[in-house]
Amino acid sequence: MTAWARRAAPTLSAWALCVVLFAIGAIHSSGFAAWDNIRDLLVFASFVGFAAVGETLVVLGGGLDLSVPWVIAFGGIQLSHWASIGGGAGIVAVVAVGAAIGFVNGVGVAWLRVPPIVMTLAVGGLVQAYLLAIGLLQSTGNQLPAAAVDIATSRVAGVPIVALIWLGVALLVGGLLARAALGRKIYAVGASETVAELSGVDVRRVRLQTYMLSGAFASFAGVVISGYVGQTYLDIGNPYLFTSIAAVIVGGASILGGRGTYWGTVAGAMTLTVLGAMLPLFGLSPAGLDIVYGIVILVGVWASTAGGALVLGRIRHHRRRSPQLPGAEVQHAP
């Protein structure tokens, strides 16, 4: 019980926070729990969710990716420039180039031993420079291929396709982290590079793979976000630097690596989105929203580290003799 609870507590508390916030919104205004609103919330949360896939993997491995906002902008802008090769092929191509950008990050961090903040900052700057340059050279492409718009806006039986894709991605990434060898290696590298190395994990390769996945998913996020907005612009990714990292942290992952889950990040993305939709109902200006956002992050991270351990310690103390949850150990066996 205790080992399972310790591991699952941050994820569960993130979900609890999300549910509580949603309930407050629903009680305050009847339209908040309407399907139309929930559908919009899911779509917006999925944007954060896609942007935060890579951030989750990189942070779990003990790194950080600051190039995410620029790769998001790249995904949308490059796709509009490559509209001639067809929507589907264009999306595959920009996601592949996104992975290549991640490859550069990974090589810098893993082989050249550049601190992740610096490497991803510099690469993000170069991507930004590239986008500024093609924006000047070819002022034509602003029009996104229909495929990107379709992915972002169509629905299947009333459910947005992006939400379904997000569910698929969450199952995949969640499974990867919990079951696949790569997932376990990411945790090992994040917990202790030296121990991982001594246990036969190719630390550099694992690092490289997390940054490549980060680039690919950030680029895909750019495709979906610009498809939803209907156009591309340079600053489209800017809000996602903050929200992608915040979602990971509110989701209970440790910024030092080795601890956290993608399902926690999903909860973090939903929490931030619900919060952003809810606060205007209470008459808060965008400035007030910023302030509350900041406080939520600070409280969330405090609760998932020091404060959480404090509360959990008490619970454990009270329930020392409580029976084990059926299947709990099996479910989370490494």
Partner: protein, 330 residues
């Protein structure tokens, strides 16, 4: 001078340092001089104290934000909230100080106190609550941005005229901005010589050992983060003076640039030394890049590419050199 107390521990360090050539400082100086020379070749009229003063007017906000970042990085932290403190101070300068009209110079002290308090909040979150600096300051960055938007919702307002005159002014032909720049470096050198300076380095090198040697790690962190808040507030005031207006969204661009300046300067992110002097040189190098780009009418992407490229090249080269040196010593 308390030579007896300081001589006990740091003497081996001092001896070793005097033997080694300070490659990091030399390489940063070389980058700055090269870019500065290129700038002068392109615009020969830059060799004129008034023009230097104008160039420094645009450089000083970055210099102060980068100095703030350096202080925090020296104790192995990072401060994303410097941009937030900058815009809060910027807004207060045009709204409170500018709005008061007349010669209310003392009101600037209020702005500086707000900066100190904002920095102290970071210090409490990091030092007392034990939050990771990156996350703690990510949270306060957003909070300060929100406060800045409350103080000054949109671009506008005017700083007090005496502030604008001050940033344009000169004493005996020497521009005030140049005096401030030299002042930053001098204050840093003095700080280095004090006990506090030594303790900052000690905490950055190894918190546990610093603590065992009687340094209060908590106190050092509180002071360092507060000083960083003070420097960021000064940047906000000087930005208002330089642009003659208030911009509540100006801060974000400075955050990552300040980290870039720290790294290009050669201050280690993992507590292996560095200093504000190095960062000031790097901030000047970055300023020269954007000045050259402006003078040549290149488009913006050239400036962005050159700064990021410089960051990448410098950091990769330093990493390679470090690995080679390590291998030779091993």
């Amino acid at each position: 001078m308390s030579a007896a107390t300081t001589a006990a521990t740091p003497s081996p360090l001092v001896r070793r340092r005097s033997r080694r050539i300070p490659w990091s400082a030399l390489s940063t100086a070389a980058i700055m001089v090269a870019l500065g020379a290129a700038d002068v070749i392109i615009q020969p009229n830059l060799l004129n104290l008034f023009q230097i003063g104008l160039l420094l007017q645009t450089a000083l906000p970055l210099v102060f934000v980068a100095a703030a970042q350096t202080l925090v990085v020296l104790v192995r932290g990072i401060d994303l909230s410097v941009g937030g403190v900058l815009v809060v101070a910027n807004g207060l300068t045009v709204v409170t100080v500018g709005g008061a009209g007349g010669d209310h110079q003392l009101l600037l002290i209020l702005v500086l106190v707000v900066g100190l308090a904002a920095g102290a909040l970071n210090g409490v979150l990091v030092g007392v609550l034990g939050l990771q600096p990156f996350i703690a300051t990510l949270g306060t960055w957003t909070i300060f941005n929100g406060i800045a938007l409350t103080v000054l919702p949109t671009d506008g307002g005017t700083p007090p005229p005496w502030l604008i005159n001050f940033t344009l002014g000169a004493v005996g032909g020497v521009p005030n901005t140049l005096i401030i720049l030299v002042g930053v470096v001098v204050v840093w050198r003095i700080l280095c010589a004090t006990k506090l300076g030594i303790r900052i380095r000690a905490v950055g090198a190894d918190e546990d050992r610093a603590s065992l040697n009687g340094t209060s790690v908590l106190a050092v962190k509180l002071i360092v983060y507060s000083l960083a808040g003070l420097c960021a507030a000064l940047a906000g005031i000087l930005l208002a003076g330089a642009t003659s207006t208030g911009t509540p969204t100006a801060g974000d661009a400075y955050i990552l640039t300040s980290v870039a300046a720290v790294v290009i300067g050669g201050t280690s992110l993992v507590g292996r030394g560095g200093g504000v002097g190095l960062t000031v040189m790097a901030a000047m190098a970055l300023t020269f890049i954007s000045d050259i780009v402006n003078a040549e009418n290149f488009s913006v992407w050239v400036s962005v590419a050159a700064s990021s490229g410089l960051l990448l090249v410098v950091v990769v080269l330093r990493g390679v050199v470090e690995q080679v040196v390590e291998r030779r010593h091993a």
